[in-house]
């Protein structure tokens, strides 16, 4: 029976994360710290959520943690959160203490140009033509690359020593992409909330600017974009989780006799992942445009906390494949005849 919404448990997890981030990742922390709230999240077991029980994790699905990931976007949380909490469990699940948050991971997978937050990483997973390599902090040479987002620095990566990893990168890459889309939804929601608050408070021509129809309609358009991007992200998480389930079923020679009905073949999962990333990126970029227009010149300054969210909207919309790249994948898949809907 379809039940397209989050469970109380999933929402409770998100609420817990939100409370922690409100307290330990306020805007002031974004100016002062490279990795605020990290230890607190670790204390909650955040970095073990997707790890299997044998790696001290909770074995949750991406869907289970999606609302919590959205909260990390809403708070503009810095640090390699997606890489450590979402990608690493599918690349290096056996790493000791990964679940505890004591090990930070950055990744440089196909479609990424640079490794985000690699300055904080104890381990790097770098995809090479002959397969993924695991690189330890002491073997790596990082070259910082300029970017829009001061809280998500990018690095070119070079190294001599590394270990081969016997793992497919696609499961990690898909999840990191969908997790990033969830963060983008969170960023967009926060930008919208900030726009609304400012439009209520700021007066010009004797009225709150939020009473002018031009402002109302711009913000209504942002609300609509976010409202209809979010379900695509949820759907992509289900698809990714489902394809894992389907693989697991296949692996057991489909003993149960019933194919997973949610996850489709890989091409459909990729399609759904790209739909999520493109829509979430566009919603966040639209929200960034609107928040600047509503704020006027003041939005254009470093003094406002706003700039962190703006930068995050732009940096995440380019992360794990730009919107253009995902749109290209979508049209290839869809014009290739993949019009299947699930269920």
């Amino acid at each position: 029976m379809t039940d397209f919404g989050f469970t109380d448990d999933q929402l409770a997890l998100a609420a817990t994360v939100r409370d922690v981030l409100r307290e330990h990742c306020p805007p002031a922390a974004l100016r002062a710290e490279r990795r605020p709230a990290w230890d607190r999240l670790a204390g909650l077991g955040f970095f073990g959520l997707l790890l299997p029980a044998e790696a001290d994790g909770l074995g949750l699905t991406l869907t289970d943690v999606l609302p919590a990931l959205e909260e990390t976007g809403r708070a503009c949380l810095p640090g390699p959160v997606v890489e450590t909490a979402v990608a690493a469990p599918f690349l290096v699940p056996g790493t000791p203490k990964l679940a505890s948050g004591a090990v930070s991971v950055s990744v440089l997978l196909p479609g990424q140009t640079y490794a985000p937050d690699a300055d904080l990483a104890d381990l790097l997973v770098v995809a090479r033509a002959d397969g993924p390599r695991l690189v330890a902090r002491e073997s790596v040479r990082l070259v910082p690359k300029p970017g829009a987002d001061p809280c998500r620095p990018l690095f070119a990566v070079d190294f001599d020593e590394s270990e081969p990893l016997d793992v497919r990168v696609a499961p990690a890459l898909r999840r990191a992409t969908v997790a990033t889309a969830a963060q983008l939804i969170g960023v967009a929601r926060e930008l919208l909330a900030v726009s609304v608050a400012y439009a209520k408070a700021r007066t010009q021509f004797g009225a709150a600017i939020g009473s002018f129809q031009a402002v109302k309609h711009q913000l209504a358009d942002v609300a609509v974009a976010v409202e209809f991007a979010a379900p695509l992200v949820w759907r992509a998480a289900l698809a990714v989780d489902g394809s894992a389930a389907a693989l697991a079923v296949d692996g057991r020679a489909a003993a149960a006799g019933r194919a997973a009905s949610v996850g489709g073949p890989a091409v459909t999962v990729e399609r759904d992942v790209s739909a999520a990333k493109a829509a979430a990126g566009e919603a966040a970029v639209l929200a960034a445009r609107a928040v600047l227009q509503v704020h006027g010149a003041i939005g254009y300054t470093e003094e406002l906390d706003l700039r962190f969210w703006l930068a995050r909207a732009w940096s995440l919309s380019a992360a794990y494949g730009t919107t253009a790249v995902h749109r290209e994948r979508l049209r290839t898949a869809i014009s290739g005849g993949d019009l299947r809907r699930y269920p």
């Binding site: 129809q213 209504a220 759907r235 049209r331």
Partner: protein, 367 residues
């Protein structure tokens, strides 16, 4: 979270698909012609004979007491099968929800089964020449008469009214603006109907002139003077989930992708693919809304987000088809579809009004 269907839901889908595959007529004349209207009523009666005309209604009124999700499944199959537009739409989607919520059991028993079978076809009578977006400015009135009310005034933009048997709308019984409006049903027999030809040349709309049309006491829905509240509940349903199920847009998007693919133009294919994904987003969003409604939530002003999204998506899809087809558009159903889609951002509350509602009632911006 889960997007699996239950075995019962899958069985229902299979039954509907199977039945439609053997019963959907190849194509009917436009419902705005006399013979088309009759053919569409026949089709409604056939649907009703399978209890498929109003699947979500209680069994006693002709439905199957289907869940919201089952109704969405029905709609997906209905439009994917290329089945005809619903001539009973105004009654089923606008009047019936108000009847079920505000009507007496007698009113429901009297009118709903007939509506389900297409025995009665209902026209809405909301707008007046000077009251389009500004519905509270209505001036048509109902005056007390022995045993009921006599209606006076002038309504317009009444869809399907040229051939309809009954109508419903708001009439002023006292007061000004939102106050003193009463929700009344009436037979069309004594209403002077002037058809209004649309861009496609057919009378999809009509003007209604009332000069003492009689509606007996049983035709009042709810309390005297409570019409505004009842109508708002109805128009919210018009704007929201019930009028615009995703099925029609999904079918349009599938056909659009096929059309774009044959052009070989990557820019047009990209636009089609984008529409396809947006139709899918609308579908998923609707599943989420259905879940909330099933759990007892009121959708309220959020329905305006759906109205803006589906109406502009529908227009975008048809405008793209126009570009793809060029001078061949008139040889396909896409041209009529395009003309129809142009009305989407206008009716059931213009999208300007909808964006005001989103800004004021969803986001909380000042009026």
């Amino acid at each position: 979270m889960d997007l699996d269907f239950s075995p019962a839901e899958r069985d229902f889908r299979a039954e509907v698909r199977d039945w439609l595959s053997t019963h959907v007529p190849r194509s009917l004349p436009s419902m705005d012609t006399f013979e088309g209207f009759a053919a569409h009523r026949e089709w409604e009666a056939l649907l009703a004979s399978e209890r498929l005309s109003v699947v979500s209604w209680p069994v006693e009124y002709g439905g199957r007491s289907a869940s919201l999700v089952e109704w969405l499944i029905f709609e997906e199959e209905y439009w994917a099968a290329g089945a005809p537009a619903r001539v009973t739409q105004n009654g089923i989607f606008l009047l019936a929800p108000s009847l079920m919520r505000f009507g007496t059991p007698e009113q429901c028993e009297r009118w709903l089964p007939r509506m389900a079978r297409g025995d009665d076809v209902w026209a809405q009578a909301w707008s007046e020449p000077e009251a389009g977006s500004d519905l509270a400015a209505l001036t048509s009135r109902a005056e007390p008469a022995p045993g009921g009310w006599r209606l006076y005034g002038h309504k317009t933009w009444s869809s399907r009214a040229t051939h309809a048997t009954h109508g419903f709308g708001l009439f002023r019984t006292s007061g000004a603006r939102h106050k003193g409006l009463t929700y009344l049903m009436f037979p069309m027999d004594d209403v002077a109907v002037r058809p209004i030809a649309q861009l496609d040349g057919l009378p999809g709309f009509a003007e209604l002139h009332f000069d003492g049309v009689f509606a007996d006491q049983s035709m009042v829905l709810g309390e005297i003077g409570d019409g505004w509240r009842i109508a708002m509940a109805t128009t919210s349903s018009e704007r929201g989930l019930t009028l615009r199920s995703p099925g029609r847009f999904l079918a349009t998007a599938d056909r659009l992708v096929a059309l774009a693919r044959s052009s070989g133009d990557p820019v047009l294919i990209d636009r089609a693919a984008r529409c396809w994904v947006e139709a899918e987003a609308y579908r998923l969003h609707t599943f989420a809304t259905a879940r909330r409604i099933t759990a007892g939530a009121e959708i309220g002003a959020a329905a305006s987000m759906s109205k803006v999204f589906w109406s502009e998506l529908d227009l975008r899809m048809h405008a793209l088809a126009m570009e793809l087809l060029g001078e061949r558009a008139g040889e396909t159903p896409w041209l009529d579809g395009f003309l129809f889609s142009l009305a989407g951002p206008i009716y059931a509350g213009t999208n300007e009004i909808q964006r005001n509602i989103i800004a004021e009632r969803v986001l909380g911006l000042p009026r």
